[in-house]
């Protein structure tokens, strides 16, 4: 099976463990991820604040290249890239004049035929059904799924999960045997791009998130966004300062959690790269059984 893949800058740099875990899981389950040839920046954080045409043209070029390469589905693990791609697709398909203009700018014809998948959708469609046959361990831990802002917003365009109190990651984690807790900070802001310019704000915002999760007994936070991860992991000293105590709850990518359940080597999943050490171990060996997914009803409602 062959799927298009857009890594974006994070997955090649600060969040390479995300990339490593996505690739490792895909490889284990026989899914081939094909990177878009000659891909460029998605325009996240800066472009859409400065220039609308630029902010649409950057993702549009990537999408057009993917179409040219004959891809029909594109996996975009980074939540920011995913947001830019889906918003671009939506805007161009609803604005003929802009669509024409962007085509001229990128010198290619963007058709809008691609299906863009975030990592959760990728898991739901290509991974979740294969888990039962491939799982070696149950992630028998209490985890807090953290969605952040970009994965589920804007709801009108994405039409994915519910904006407040989303559930899709929880469903995946429950399938892995985890006890995913009901908590209050699933979509609260992590501080995002203030990581560098105003670290103290990240300390406060991410601090509240990590404090609530650990207060409720979560042994790990599970994320699907490199920005969220780097804030929650890398800025832990600022958070500890804000909280007035040290919290060592690790933050892992959902693909790393899947990798652990599949028995993939921790190093291959990049678990050694985190600032907050990931000590999770002693997983229960998985015995195939009928797994009752409690949240199916909520999923249907979405």
């Amino acid at each position: 099976m062959k799927l298009g893949f857009y890594p974006g800058c994070s997955l090649e740099g600060a969040s390479r463990e995300y990339n490593e875990s996505v690739q490792a899981v895909a490889e284990k389950l026989g899914i081939e991820l094909v990177s878009i040839p000659d891909w460029n920046c998605c325009g996240a954080t800066a472009a859409h604040n400065l220039d609308k045409e630029l902010s649409l043209s950057l993702p549009a070029r990537n999408l057009a290249l993917a179409e040219e390469a004959g891809l029909t589905e594109l996996v975009v693990p980074c939540a920011a890239c995913y947001s830019r791609f889906t918003v671009t697709q939506h805007e161009l398909l609803h604005d003929n004049a802009m669509h024409k203009k962007v085509n001229e700018i990128i010198g290619k014809e963007y058709k809008g035929t691609l299906r863009i998948l975030n990592v959760i959708q990728f898991i739901e469609e290509y991974i979740i059904d294969k888990l039962e046959d491939n799982m070696k361990f149950e992630i028998n831990k209490k985890v807090a799924c953290y969605y952040g802002c970009l994965l589920v917003r804007p709801n009108k365009i994405l039409n994915f999960d519910r904006t407040e109190d989303p559930q899709t990651m929880d469903v995946v984690m429950k399938k892995l045997g985890a006890d995913s807790i009901d908590w209050a900070f699933k979509t609260e802001c992590c501080g995002a791009g203030f990581s560098v310019s105003f670290t103290e704000a990240v300390g406060r915002l991410s601090g509240k998130i990590i404090e609530d999760a650990s207060h409720r007994g979560a042994e790990a936070l599970v994320v699907a966004c490199p920005m969220c991860h780097s804030n929650l992991d890398m800025r832990r000293p600022a958070m500890d300062k804000y909280n007035g105590k040290k919290i060592d709850t690790p933050v892992i990518y959902i693909t790393q959690a899947i990798g652990l359940a599949l028995g993939i080597d921790r190093k291959k999943l990049g678990l050694n790269r985190h600032f907050v050490p990931v000590k999770l171990d002693n997983f229960k060996p998985y015995v195939k059984k009928e797994v009752v997914v409690e949240n199916t009803q909520i999923m249907e409602e979405i």
Partner: protein, 666 residues
């Protein structure tokens, strides 16, 4: 030979600023058959009408065209003037050169030409008009009141006290509506039940009122003065004539754990139940979905204990037909439930309740006997947060309108809370305090000043639970938009008032219009606030839009006044603009072939079969016959008639073609 008069109105400057009225009058004077033409500043004024009356008499006019505003505005005015001058009112036509011309076009020759054309068309039509006589129909002096809340009760009592019969239909097992669920009422804090229950008893005892509870309107046919209504009386599984209301059955019923609708799920009831102790009528019903006997075929304990032997397990729904002359819709409203709000937890937190649930809690007859208690653990909440505008005034996620009653009842809740929990603090998040009404603003001031309610102007972005407390995150827009975080024990959402369940279906049964929020629409927002667009059907209370008790009662009395007016004479006059089947001399009798294609298309069931028989009684021919009492003049039968045997008085094919001809030949 026709002698038509043309009267061109300036409508102040409404018409004359755009259309050259003297010129239109001059041209119209030269139309064939026009004997008199004049223009005047205000034709509808007293001197204007005199001008019309005098001209009809003086010039012996056989028909007139008033070229002015829409017929919806002043056709009745000029028809009256005609009648006064001795001319049949249906020989008067309006040529609309205001809405259809001056208001929608620029000044200029083409606009003048259009006005001239419109006048010419109507002159040609009126030449072919026939004198028509208005139709008299009898009035059934019985009113149907749908809904037995405070509005329905008020309307029914007022109509009954005016000496007319009333049939009241209530969906629930008892009348009383939402008002019977309320604790105290603003702005006086008098007990809701204490003022309502005597009125409920009055309804039951009034000899002019027939009360059907646990019943719904099945279908409505007919028209003003003569409606035929079918009512489905759902099976209560009780013989009401035998039941003495002793309550033995409800205490003995082994099923005790059914969520009580009247207590909004905060209490339980048995399968055989009266909704609340003061219910009218005090007759229980069996909830067949939850009754052990209906589920398993075994039990019948209630029957064993029923002394008067009133239990009827085999009772069936009953259809009752009543003839009424007028209908009042008083079906009330509902409130959004807490699960509507994602940011407040989709209803998963037990200690977040809606305003109506708080009413039950604060009510002396409620599930906690009036004590304020957290539903989760029964503890007394020391910090309570009220969120006003939960869902209201929220075009993005909720509804755009203001639910109107919430500001006042939230102030009341804060006061009641403080009266019951002296050491507690009530916080109220609000957008604006809308307290317009007699003694209303004083009441909210009382909440703030005497009962120390903490009003915070801002919205609540989220509520979550932590260690048994509800963390309420909001903003204070009067304190530099600072984030406010309150660790509350309980939260009350003043959820939006919405149209009641089933409003849409009822509107369709009654052929009345409703708005995008499924509230019933009034005929005119200012001048006809209690009428619908369907003659003889009226609205009272919160089925029209969220209303408080005084407003609902005032509207209900308004309806009663309207219905009493309608019932003040024994006959109604209707416009004779109805369809008829042509009749010609024997041996054909009519061009109607008796195919009866017209019968199924008639929305009013007005088309009957008429048999033409010879003197010996042998059938010669069957024709369509249109009942003038039922026909509403919609014209559907005219369109479908293959032999062109049907026409509408006032809008005959010939009249319509002459208008079109006049336009095409201009």
């Amino acid at each position: 030979m026709a002698r038509i008069g043309v009267f061109i109105c300036h409508c102040g400057e409404n018409i004359s600023a755009t259309v050259d009225c003297p010129k239109v009058s001059e041209v119209a004077a030269k139309f064939p058959g026009v004997a008199y033409s004049v223009d005047y500043k205000y034709m509808c004024s007293d001197p204007g009408q005199s001008l019309v009356v005098n001209a009809i008499k003086e010039h012996k006019l056989t028909g007139i065209v008033v070229s002015a505003c829409s017929p919806r505005m002043h056709e009745p005015t000029f028809r009256r003037a005609c009648a006064e001058a001795g001319l049949n009112p249906y020989l008067c036509e309006m040529a609309n050169i205001r809405e259809h011309c001056s208001w929608v076009h620029e000044k200029g020759d083409r606009t003048d030409q259009k006005a001239i054309d419109v006048v010419r068309m109507m002159v040609e039509k009126v030449k072919r008009n026939n004198a028509l006589m208005s139709i008299k129909v009898p009035v059934t002096k019985t009113a149907l009141v749908i809904g037995g809340g405070v509005a329905g009760i008020q309307a029914a009592l007022d109509i009954a006290n005016a000496g007319h019969k009333v049939v009241m239909v209530e969906r629930e097992p008892s009348i009383g509506g939402h008002m019977s669920q309320l604790s105290e009422t603003f702005p006086t804090l008098d007990c809701s039940q204490c003022i309502l229950t005597p009125r409920m008893v009055e309804v039951a005892q009034n000899p002019n009122i027939t009360l059907y509870t646990y019943a719904e309107v099945e279908s409505v046919e007919g028209f003003v003065g003569n409606f035929n209504v079918k009512i489905r009386k759902k099976a209560k599984s009780i013989d009401e004539t035998l039941c003495n209301g002793c309550g033995m059955c409800t205490t003995k019923c082994p099923q005790k754990k059914i969520p009580n609708e009247f207590e909004l799920g905060m209490g339980n009831r048995p399968a055989i139940y009266v909704p609340f102790p003061q219910a009218v009528p005090n007759v229980p019903v069996i909830d067949r979905l939850n009754c052990t006997y209906y589920k398993n075929g075994k039990c019948k304990i209630c029957e064993k204990f029923c002394q008067p032997k009133a239990i009827r397990f085999d009772q069936e729904d009953e259809i009752i037909e009543v003839a009424v002359g007028a209908i009042s819709i008083c079906t009330g409203f509902d409130v959004k439930k807490t699960d509507f709000f994602p940011e407040y937890g989709y209803g998963k937190h037990k200690d977040i309740i809606d305003g109506l649930q708080f009413e039950r809690m604060a009510s002396a007859s409620g599930p906690t006997l009036g004590a304020i208690r957290r539903p989760s653990d029964g503890a007394e909440p020391k910090k309570i947060v009220f969120v006003a505008c939960a869902g209201s005034r929220d075009p993005a996620k909720g509804i755009e309108y203001c639910s109107k009653i919430c500001c006042m009842y939230t102030a009341k809740h804060a006061i009641l809370y403080k009266h019951k929990v002296h050491d507690g603090t009530a916080y109220i998040f609000y957008m604006d305090i809308r307290a317009a009404g007699k003694n209303y603003d004083e009441f909210t001031r009382r909440a703030i000043e005497e009962d120390n309610a903490q009003y915070i102007r801002g919205r609540v972005s989220s509520i979550y639970e932590r260690d048994g407390k509800l963390i309420v995150i909001g903003t204070d827009t009067l304190m530099n938009h600072e984030t406010v975080e309150i660790e509350a024990d309980m939260v009350v959402l003043a959820t939006a008032g919405v149209a009641n369940q089933g409003a849409e279906e009822l509107a369709q049964k009654l052929h009345v219009s409703y708005d995008q929020h499924r509230f019933f629409s009034e005929a005119h927002p200012k001048l006809k606030p209690v009428e619908t667009n369907t003659a003889g059907i009226y609205l009272a209370g919160a089925c029209q839009s969220p209303k408080d008790i005084p407003e609902s009662v005032a509207a209900a009395s308004g309806v009663a006044g309207k219905i009493s007016c309608l019932f003040s004479s024994s006959e109604l006059t209707r416009e004779p603009l109805i369809a008829f089947v042509d009749r010609i001399a024997a041996p054909d009798y009519s061009s109607c072939t008796g195919c009866f294609l017209c019968q199924p298309v008639c929305p009013y069931n007005a088309i009957e079969k008429e048999d033409i028989k010879d003197r010996a009684g042998n059938l010669i021919k069957s024709l369509a016959y249109i009942n003038p009492g039922l026909c509403q003049g919609c014209g559907t039968c005219v369109a479908i008639c293959k032999s062109k045997s049907i026409d509408i008085d006032g809008y005959t094919n010939q009249q319509m073609y002459s208008e079109v001809d006049a336009l095409l030949n201009s």
